[in-house]
């Protein structure tokens, strides 16, 4: 075939071209697999098995705790951008929501938290509310509820746990320069929420 003999005759350029084709083929396949892993993380990361607890301590303080599993099935680590946990007491009377603050925790990216690939990591929080203004508001709530016919104790109050996670898959977040590049961070950002007993 004339084409092959021509390529043989000009072997140097032909070999360079074939080498470049091979290089770009490998790069494309590798990058596509990375893209598939990122999309797998986007769809597959789940929050599971939330456990909420509240306990009245002997000294009269209130201890609230929360734990939840972060399931990461992808081949890439999740670099945490932020984790937040807030626990409040539902004080809503009508359609307008109202809450009494109990405790909150915030973890930022500077703490370097990573959820490893193909693993389940348990995130646990615990907070003690000592005697003070916060606890007094809760005690007032219990007393007022009792007057309205609702019996609560410090450990059986209507707590609402709010856990939010934002992470970047594989640390692929992009230092964008233009608004048109925002989609690059949207692509690799994983956001999950657990709120009031529901996984959102």
């Amino acid at each position: 075939m004339g084409v092959i003999s021509d390529l043989r005759k000009r072997w140097f350029v032909s070999a360079l071209t074939a080498g470049a084709a091979l290089f770009f083929t490998v790069a494309l396949v590798y990058s596509t697999l990375t893209y598939a892993d990122v999309m797998e993380a986007r769809q597959g990361v789940e929050l599971r098995g939330a456990v909420e607890a509240a306990e009245e301590l002997d000294n009269g303080s209130l201890m609230v705790s929360f734990s939840i599993d972060v399931y990461n099935p992808s081949d890439k680590d999740l670099a945490v951008h932020s984790l937040s946990w807030a626990v409040r007491v539902d004080n809503s009377t009508d359609d307008v929501p109202s809450f009494l603050f109990v405790a909150s925790v915030y973890n930022s990216s500077s703490e370097g938290i990573v959820f490893p690939a193909e693993s389940t990591t348990t995130v646990s929080y615990m907070a003690v509310v000592p005697a003070g203004a916060t606890l007094q508001r809760l005690v007032d709530f219990i007393e007022y509820s009792a007057a309205q016919g609702e019996e609560y104790t410090l450990s059986t109050m209507p707590f609402v746990h709010d856990f939010r996670m934002t992470a970047f898959t594989g640390g692929f977040d992009h230092d964008y320069q233009y608004y048109r590049e925002l989609y690059l961070n949207d692509l690799v950002r994983v956001e999950r929420t657990y709120y009031g007993g529901e996984y959102l």
């Binding site: 021509d6 000009r10 032909s14 770009f24 790069a27 596509t32 990122v38």
Partner: protein
């Protein structure tokens, strides 16, 4: 001028050798944070690569019209491969996601400028490749006469 069967075969072989590079550049342009290595949307590097992709077509094809058709052919094949790579994860998880029009429109919207640059760079590369080929032929002939 007629295009013979061998010309088509030559164009196809050249197009298949240049297409992976073009496909990677398009894919890299839309996901520069995921690709290895990445051009980081650097248009100058993209233009230089586009010239490089066009040079083998000019070097190995003497007829300029066929070399230019080869450029169009490898850009078309490369673009198709890039769209396939762009759709790859969704063919595994949820095929229906790739059908909405905006999904492909986003790809076209993001890659229309590199598309023009790669075609233009390819044409320039063809001319450079032909100049290089003729220069090497002249040198070879001169050396043969010198013997």
């Amino acid at each position: 001028m007629r295009v013979r069967g061998e010309d088509w075969r030559r164009m196809l072989v050249m197009a298949l050798m240049s297409a992976p590079g073009v496909a990677f550049v398009f894919f890299d342009f839309i996901f520069p944070n995921l690709t290895t290595p990445s051009l980081d949307k650097n248009m100058l590097v993209l233009f230089l690569l586009a010239i490089m992709f066009g040079m083998p077509s000019g070097y190995l094809t003497r007829r300029t019209d066929l070399a230019i058709v080869t450029v169009l052919l490898y850009v078309a094949i490369g673009y198709t491969i890039a769209v396939a790579a762009y759709s790859a994860p969704f063919t595994i998880y949820d095929f229906s996601i790739i059908f909405p029009g905006l999904y492909f429109m986003f790809f076209v919207n993001m890659t229309v400028i590199p598309l023009l640059v790669i075609v233009l760079g390819g044409f320039i590369g063809v001319i450079l490749g032909q100049v290089l080929g003729e220069s090497m032929d002249r040198e070879e002939t001169a050396q043969n006469f010198a013997k």
